[in-house]
């Protein structure tokens, strides 16, 4: 479904991703785990076209999308939920959700379906997004992405800045999404425990390179994961 080959990403002259390969099959749930600064966000921002890749290849359903503008990649079915969420603060929750479906009209009932996943949003439909709490904003960001009806949903650190209880709530929703087998899910997370409990398979990224990869079960039992992951070489 998504294939990243030998990707290099740099900010100015700081190269942060040094030749990463990632492959995700349709319907798979894949984790990209690693400590902060490991290069997870840079990898994902390059995948969705928000930051240009220095070199490499990115294919979505077999078609090269490298160098495409973000809006085209979004329309091609890959939707990214950044850690900063990027909501429209002065627009209502409902308008934010409807923007997710842009440029089509959302299928009837689709908004209700998404809101059903996050009941907290229900009572706040007419409220401005900027007035929501951090957890609600994260839910809205995921909800907005779902309204696009993506084939690949990419989530960047959905637990960032959330109290544990709220993070649990977000992850509960993600578990429901995982069981929807039409959706391919890619999840970047620094909380390796949470991530491995959700995904089928994961890549452990360290300093811009893939350090380990394997099924969730393999990685959970790997004594190297914690060490590698904490960045102690």
């Amino acid at each position: 479904m998504l294939r990243v080959e030998d990707l290099y990403v740099a900010y100015g002259d700081i190269e942060v991703v040094h030749g990463i390969d990632v492959e995700v099959a349709p319907g798979e749930v894949v984790g990209i785990i690693g400590s902060n600064g490991a290069g997870k966000s840079s990898l994902l921002r390059a995948v969705c076209g928000l930051h240009p890749a220095r070199s490499g290849e990115i294919r979505l359903a077999g078609r090269s999308i490298i160098g495409d503008p973000t809006f085209r990649i979004a329309r091609a079915g890959l939707t990214y939920v950044p850690a900063e969420r990027r909501l429209f603060p002065d627009m209502t929750v409902l308008d934010n959700l409807l923007m997710g479906a842009y440029p089509q009209r959302p299928a009837p009932g689709r908004v209700d379906e998404v809101v059903a996943l996050f009941p907290r949003l229900q009572e706040r439909r007419r409220q401005a997004a900027g007035t929501l709490s951090g957890g609600e904003q994260q839910m809205l960001a995921i909800g907005r992405a779902l309204l696009a009806g993506p084939e690949v949903l990419v989530l960047d650190e959905p637990s960032t800045g959330l109290a544990p209880a709220l993070a649990d709530e977000v992850y509960a929703a993600l578990r429901i999404l995982r069981d929807d087998r039409d959706l391919t899910l890619i999840l970047a997370e620094q909380q390796v425990g949470r991530a491995l409990a959700l995904v089928d398979r994961a890549y452990v990224i360290e300093q811009g390179r893939v350090r380990l990869q394997g099924t969730a079960a393999e990685l959970r039992d790997d004594p190297d994961v914690q060490r590698a992951y904490l960045g102690i070489a």
Binding site: F71, Y102, R105, A145
Partner: protein, 285 residues
């Protein structure tokens, strides 16, 4: 009362001018100092068409089309290199480039059409509104302004594309992630602002006249309203236009025109110094 009504009419016109300016700024960080020249181009295009013997409606359509076309041309050519920059550098270059455009157009229009002016006198008697007699020209102008503003607001609030425009103003990256085509949105809004400038020219032609030398004045008026309403805030521009229109009318009547202009400029300066986000900036909704 008649004065206040005059002020409201003028205020509606100001809103028409300022909403266009503020939308472009909100969307692309471009402060178009040639906005007034769009009005002048529309005015002269209309006047020339009329003097060539065309019917008024044809002239009106041509006038608005001329402003829209010029706006499109600006966006598609000279502003391309500007959009490639980011942040302060984009704002600065846009200021200098559009200032250059303003003088370029002024020079050409003043030389080629020194005495052309758009005057659209509407036949018919004055009309009684709330016990006040209004010239029919003012009534028609108000109807045009109100209709245009309502249409723009409805477009921004209700249509999918309008929602996309608002989303870009609030968060460019978020909008791109939702699949919004940013360059296309910018172009459409630029043309829309041209249409509004053209309509302003029509309303101004109904009430007084539009000549080649008034470009800078229109730009400054739009700028004042935009600043007082909060740069990039549509609802702010709308309210500020009405309020300043009334202030303008009352103050011109009781104090005099030149002091009025100084007062308006002073209000704009004070707004920036005290509350740069605008006095009526309730949000981009």
């Amino acid at each position: 009362m008649a004065i206040v009504l005059d002020g409201i009419v003028f205020g509606l016109q100001l809103s028409l001018l300022a909403v266009g300016l503020t939308l472009i700024y909100g969307l692309g960080g471009v402060l178009n100092l040639a906005h007034g020249q769009l009005v002048v181009v529309a005015g002269i295009a209309g006047a020339v068409t009329i003097s060539a013997g065309a019917a008024i409606p044809v002239a009106v359509v041509l006038a608005v089309a001329a402003a829209a076309a010029l706006a499109w041309l600006l966006d598609a050519t000279l502003l391309r290199p500007v959009y490639r920059l980011t942040g302060e550098r984009r704002v600065l270059l846009s200021l200098l480039v559009t200032l250059g455009v303003a003088f370029l157009l002024d020079g050409i229009l003043i030389t080629t059409h020194p005495f052309t002016a758009l005057n659209l006198s509407v036949p018919g008697p004055a009309i009684d509104i709330l016990g006040v007699r209004m010239r029919s020209g003012s009534v028609v102008a108000s109807i045009i302004a109100v209709t245009a503003l309502a249409a723009v607001l409805a477009f921004l609030r209700l249509s999918r594309f309008g929602r996309a425009v608002r989303s870009v103003i609030q968060d460019e990256e978020g909008a791109a992630l939702c699949g919004v085509n940013l360059p296309l949105t910018r172009t459409v809004v630029f043309v829309l602002s041209g249409v509004m400038a053209g309509l302003f020219a029509i309303t101004q032609g109904l009430i007084s006249s539009v000549g080649a030398t008034s470009g800078l004045d229109f730009t400054i008026l739009a700028l004042i309203v935009t600043v007082v309403g909060g740069l990039g805030r549509v609802s702010g521009a709308l309210v500020a236009g009405l309020v300043l229109g009334i202030v303008h009318a009352v103050s011109s009547f009781y104090i005099g025109a030149f002091v009025t202009f100084v007062i308006l400029l002073g209000v704009a300066m004070l707004t920036i110094l005290i509350r740069p986000t605008g006095i009526f900036g309730g949000g981009a909704r």
